[in-house]
């Protein structure tokens, strides 16, 4: 084992001590470091929420939240969003999740430019009063965001709505 390690190290030295290999490796490492640094610095969500239309419904109703948004489609990002609704007492209930590929986002933008519609059912146990639809979106815009670190870009959004008596 030790002998094999020494043999490997000797081979490694023979290869890496060649000036041409060392020089090209330095160039490659520098370019790679720049690429990886630019990719790591890409932490801006590709989606901006501009405004929303107020929505109201009774507990158990299905409602649609309409939002004006600005989508950045140039970065080919995919998304995974968790949605939960929180009522006036603080009761939080998951109301679904959604995965969108870059192609699906492009198709949605082509069909409904600048608009995002979210349909969900107000939980039957919700108390009347002001409530919130909380969106937790994970964006993956490059390969490093699939790794445990730095991980996806997180975006939070709270859309208020009213639960009627």
């Amino acid at each position: 084992m030790v002998k094999a390690t020494f043999l490997l190290l000797r081979w490694f030295d023979r290869v890496t001590d060649r000036p041409a290999i060392a020089a090209w490796a330095s160039v490659l490492a520098t370019i790679s470091a720049l690429v990886v640094a630019s990719v790591l610095l890409d932490r801006e969500p590709p989606h901006r929420f501009l405004s929303f239309e107020p929505v109201a419904g009774h507990a158990g109703d299905t409602v649609i939240v309409r939002q004006r948004v600005e989508r950045d489609l140039g970065r080919g990002c995919t998304s995974h969003s968790h949605r939960s609704a929180i009522d006036s007492r603080g009761l939080s209930i998951p109301v679904g999740q959604r995965n969108l590929s870059a192609e699906e986002r492009t198709a949605i933008e082509a069909k409904f430019p600048g608009q995002a519609l979210i349909q969900f059912q107000i939980p039957a146990t919700f108390a009347p009063g002001p409530a919130v639809l909380a969106l937790d979106i994970e964006w993956v815009c490059n390969v490093t965001q699939r790794l445990p670190w730095p991980g996806p870009i997180h975006q939070y959004r709270a859309v208020p709505f009213e639960v009627l008596q």
């Binding site: 190290l9 890496t16 790679s32 690429v35 990886v36 990719v39 080919g76 870059a102 492009t106």
Partner: protein, 73 residues
């Protein structure tokens, strides 16, 4: 007379063979440790560079696949 004596090793004018052997052994060990550190350092730098290159390549391939997908669809 009651005198207080300190316990210090006596000064010597010559160096024995066993001292020389110990010194040589110490120098050898330091040299070995320095060599090992150099190797670890070098392998670490190359492995780090390689990991960066693999990440950059994976990102490039990812973008290329998306580009092809977008232009095919």
């Amino acid at each position: 007379m009651d005198t207080e004596q300190k316990c210090e090793p006596p000064l010597r004018a010559s160096i024995s063979d066993s001292d020389l052997a110990a010194l040589r052994e110490g120098a050898e060990e330091r040299r070995h440790r320095a060599w090992l550190w150099l190797k670890i350092n070098k392998v670490g730098r190359w492995v780090g560079g390689l990991a960066l290159a693999v990440l950059a390549l994976a990102d490039g391939v990812d973008r290329l696949i998306q580009f092809i997908g977008r232009h095919r669809g």
